[in-house]
């Protein structure tokens, strides 16, 4: 019923009037989306609206939901991350056709393949509106655009067919003229627990209409009204007869496992496995207590020192101990010799942000890294400098240890490449954060056969060196 819905409650009125041209279909689709959400009876704060870039991307700004505008084509990737982190947020994407199926095509395919519980409303106006009416993959055959003044000789893409082929579990199409059908179809998408696509064929009177002999916005809506044909009627027509028609209704509905549910199952399984393989070995009592609960580790040096791998192994060992880990790596533009940084968060609880702020633990394996990062370490933290390369010790509040890590790896162990694992062994002892046994398991799995024993030797050698460092210190 028209009057049950108090639309103004869902709007950010301060943002109005909209930036869209007169008659632009984007506003109509936003309204249909709001009607569908209202019908679900969801609290506004439990809804997340996600957009990419384009005229379409203004859509979430007008709605009073949690909202985010991302980068062009990447809305599904962003939404995947957000949905993984907050599975209870009802996540709706409002995407332009260019955003969704041109630059964002691969994300679209993989979202459908994963059947992740997102509702993607594609505001298909046959054109790149914002940038001046260039063709999009959805521009119909022989239509004009600013880049095809003599007509588009390419066939248009059928994004619904792509969604179906890739594995979406709810796929529907409607137009901006068919407003009640639109609200109902979007509602169907919201109800589906999986990847839902609702294509709304819309007018862009400015970028598309004027170049294609639609004199007014009204003429464009008449076109949508007349070109639409229901999926039931379309079944009896030949492809020839369906040319220039817009087939509307629910095109596909199916049921299969949803990504986030499957992920949760796998995560549980992995945690149980880690426990049963004894990976969560007890820490030695005297090692407990340093940085309890949460700590940030930065491994820094230059490309080729194996710091990215060290970060991965540290994270895996952490997870094996039943804790949470997040790993970020950053490699300078040079593959070898440039700066390299690997950052790990070790936490008993949930990790909200994978980015570290002030590390508790720093390993610096070049002078440059030491100069750059020592001062940022927490005062109660620990620094390990590879004195093979760090000749000048920067001033820092944190406790600083020095050891010629690379030199020991090269001269005593016979291979400088095991310096990374040697350093992990030292850190395991200095911080008491990690069980060496868990690290050993990971090293065994991660490094190639021919250097496996050498790496394990390096790990335990590091652990002994760590002991000495702590003792000398005491």
């Amino acid at each position: 019923m028209a009057n049950d819905l108090r639309l103004e409650e869902y709007l950010r009125e301060r943002e109005f009037p909209t930036m869209w041209c007169a008659g632009c279909g984007h506003g109509v689709t936003v309204k249909g989306t709001i009607r569908a959400i209202a019908k679900m009876g969801w609290d506004k704060d439990d809804v997340l609206a996600v957009a990419g870039i384009g005229c379409s991307a203004r859509a979430p700004a007008y709605c009073d939901f949690n909202s985010i505008q991302t980068t062009h084509g990447r809305a599904i990737a962003f939404a995947t991350g957000m949905k993984m982190h907050r599975p209870n947020l009802h996540t709706v994407l409002l995407l332009g056709d260019g955003d969704c199926i041109a630059i964002g095509g691969n994300h679209f395919i993989h979202g459908a393949k994963r059947n992740i519980d997102l509702t993607v409303v594609v505001m298909n106006n046959s054109i790149y509106g914002m940038t001046g009416g260039q063709i999009s993959p959805t521009t119909p055959h022989m239509c004009n655009s600013s880049t095809t003044p003599f007509g588009n000789f390419e066939e248009q893409i059928n994004l619904c067919d792509i969604a179906i082929a890739a594995g979406a579990t709810y796929v529907a199409r409607t137009t901006a003229y068919h407003v009640n059908q639109m609200a109902a179809l979007i509602e169907g998408g919201l109800r589906n627990k999986g990847f839902s696509v609702i294509e709304v064929v819309e007018p862009c009177p400015t970028g598309f209409g004027r170049k294609n002999e639609f004199k007014t916005p009204v003429a464009m809506y008449e076109w949508l009204r007349d070109a639409a044909i229901s999926v039931d009627k379309a079944r009896d027509l030949s492809p020839q007869e369906l040319k220039n028609k817009i087939v509307t209704g629910v095109l596909h509905q199916s049921s299969r496992p949803e990504f986030i549910t499957e992920y949760a199952k796998m995560s549980k399984k992995a945690q149980e496995r880690a426990k049963s393989t004894g990976a969560s070995l007890e820490l030695m009592p005297e090692e407990m207590g340093k940085f309890p609960g949460y700590s940030e580790v930065r491994l820094s040096g230059s490309g080729g020192q194996g710091l990215v791998l060290a970060g991965i192994m540290l994270s895996e060992a952490t997870i094996k101990q039943g804790k949470n880990a997040a790993h970020l790596q950053s490699i300078g533009p040079e593959a070898r010799g440039g700066t390299s940084r690997s950052e790990v968060i070790i936490s008993d609880g949930e990790i909200i942000n994978p980015k570290i702020t002030a590390p508790h633990v720093l390993l610096a394996m070049t002078q440059e890294a030491a100069d750059k990062y020592c001062s940022g370490v927490k005062p109660e933290g620990i620094i390990l400098l590879d004195s093979t390369f760090v000749k000048e010790v920067p001033t820092a509040a944190a406790k600083t240890y020095q050891y010629p890590v690379t030199e020991f790896a090269r001269d005593t162990l016979g291979n400088p490449l095991v310096a990374n694992v040697l350093a992990l062994g030292i850190l395991a002892r200095l911080t008491g954060k990690l069980s060496v046994n868990a690290l050993e398991d990971v090293v065994r799995k991660r490094v190639p056969q021919r250097v496996r024993e050498l790496n394990i030797k390096a790990l335990w050698a590091g652990y002994e060196i760590g002991k000495d460092l702590v003792q000398t210190d005491a």
């Binding site: 639309l7 109005f16 869209w20 506003g27 109509v28 309204k31 609200a183 007014t216 916005p217 009204v218």
Partner: protein, 70 residues
């Protein structure tokens, strides 16, 4: 039970004169003003289908109780 009589109300500050409400109202409730914006000239004919509201791209039309025509 008496049914409330509804009629469209146009927020001229948000209206961009696209003409959709005028063209597609099943009861011809609107006529175009000189600037193309809708005037609600036949409020009593309104059947409260809500299509003008739903189709208005600018959120500029709502249905409100018709106080005069009761």
């Amino acid at each position: 039970m008496t049914k409330k009589k509804m009629q469209p109300v146009v927020n001229l500050a948000w209206c961009k004169a696209c003409g959709l409400c005028i063209a597609f109202c099943p009861r011809d409730v609107f006529t175009a003003a000189a600037d193309g914006r809708p005037l609600v000239t036949r409020p009593d004919a309104c059947i409260a289908c809500g299509l003008c509201d739903y189709r208005c791209p600018d959120f500029a039309i709502t249905l409100a109780e018709n106080k005069v025509g009761v």
